[in-house]
């Protein structure tokens, strides 16, 4: 008959051995199982190394910054340090403003140039406008033809035939659209970092 091999230590039994509250089974098992004895020794070493790790100190100004943010007060407000969040936000705002000014200046300059050179501007823009208009008209035609060929088009046309039928239907559709839009906005703005339980 083959002797039954006792099961190795479970997570709880291993923890109990670390705490000094091991069950008699765990104690007797560890006395006979070389594998678990080695595991326990290595585990103890890892735990000792982890326990010896230092804790880190944040900057002494952190508390001042937090309190200033919570209770804005001139005497508590810290001077902005290079690379702080406030600095970065200000730099981002500055970049947006510079970008906006640059774009605005370019558009204004373009309009001014076109006003003083109408013939050249029309000569340059004419073919482009013509091409774009033609492409748009083709797109409208395609969408219309495609819609008219749809099997559901007849039913929709009948449903919208009289204002008495069309108004409630359009109202429901509009409300559904708004609800979906709000729902999406809420889902997308959600973050796992939140202060509530």
């Amino acid at each position: 008959m083959i002797p039954e091999i006792p099961a190795h230590l479970s997570i709880d039994e291993l923890d109990a051995l670390h705490d000094g509250s091991a069950s008699p089974r765990a104690t007797s098992h560890i006395a006979t199982c070389l594998q678990c004895t080695n595991l326990l020794a290595q585990d103890r070493r890892v735990l000792a190394l982890l326990a010896a790790l230092p804790t880190w100190d944040a900057s002494p100004r952190l508390a001042v910054r937090v309190l200033a943010e919570l209770h804005p007060h001139p005497t508590l407000a810290p001077a902005a340090t290079p690379g702080s969040t406030a600095d970065r936000a200000m730099a981002a705002r500055r970049r947006v403003m510079v970008g906006g000014l640059l774009t605005g200046s370019l558009v204004t300059a373009g309009c001014a140039w076109a006003a003083f050179n109408p013939t050249t501007a029309a000569g340059l823009a004419g073919p482009i406008v013509q091409e774009v208009t033609h492409a748009l008209w083709l797109a409208v035609q395609a969408v219309t033809a495609n819609t008219l060929e749809q099997p559901w088009f007849g039913a929709v046309r009948d449903a919208l035939a009289t204002p008495a039928r069309a108004v409630p239907l359009l109202a429901v559709a509009g409300l559904t659209y708004v609800a979906v839009l709000i729902g999406f906005r809420k889902v997308l703005s959600r973050s796992v970092t939140r202060a509530s339980w």
Binding site: I11, D12, R45, L49, A51, T55, D57, L62, A195, W197
Partner: protein, 203 residues
């Protein structure tokens, strides 16, 4: 007429300090920050491995917690609440940025020796000799490196359990995980650390 006795903040429980904070007492805010600044910063720093970022996230965590102090539910531990927010902030950050650069040697953005020193993980004890200091610094660096190689969820679990000393039940509360899952994660993390630190065992 008797004067009100001054509050001995150190003797109060977290829940009692929070009650004062809800009333808007700034000293209570300061006391909560004094209690949790180091552990929260340490946890975040070890999660994101960048000092500047850890400072920002710690600040964000305290502003969230103290700004919403009225919504704290006293049936839970205050530590669970603050660690939960700190851990979520770190995980959010790790998702946004793949921070695979080890910052033991300082932030990759640090350009001057002072900045490198300021942004590196400091592993030092004032009482040790220069030789011990070098050895301990190397040892500490290897452990930090090994922790940094763990999956973020294992890292949270192992840091909360074996560095911060939080009980399993509280970790389950912090991470919104079943107790069994927390135990399994910690066990697996320890297994991985045993393998990663095998060289140290043999020395």
């Amino acid at each position: 007429m008797t004067l009100p006795t001054p509050v001995d903040w150190r003797m109060l429980t977290d829940q009692e300090v929070v009650r004062h904070a809800v009333l808007g007492r700034e000293v209570a805010y300061q006391e909560l920050m004094r209690r949790y600044q180091r552990p929260v910063f340490s946890l975040i720093y070890r999660m994101v491995r960048n000092r500047e970022l850890a400072e920002d996230l710690t600040q964000e965590t305290f502003i969230k917690v103290l700004g919403a102090i009225e919504s704290y539910r006293p049936e839970y531990r205050f530590s669970s609440w603050i660690f939960k927010i700190a851990n979520n902030a770190s995980i959010d950050q790790l998702r946004r940025r793949a921070l695979d650069t080890l910052s033991l040697d300082g932030s990759p953005h640090a350009e001057t020796p002072d900045a490198i020193e300021a942004t590196s993980l400091q592993i030092r004890d004032a009482t040790e000799s220069p030789l011990d200091e070098v050895a301990n610094r190397e040892l500490g660096a290897q452990i930090e490196e090994a922790i940094g190689q763990l999956r973020p969820e294992y890292r949270s679990c192992i840091l909360l359990r074996h560095v911060e000393g939080r009980p399993y039940e509280e970790i389950a509360e912090i991470l919104d995980l079943p107790l069994g899952t927390v135990k399994t994660y910690i066990h697996r993390a320890r297994n991985e650390l045993r393998i990663l630190l095998a060289d140290l065992h043999e020395e």
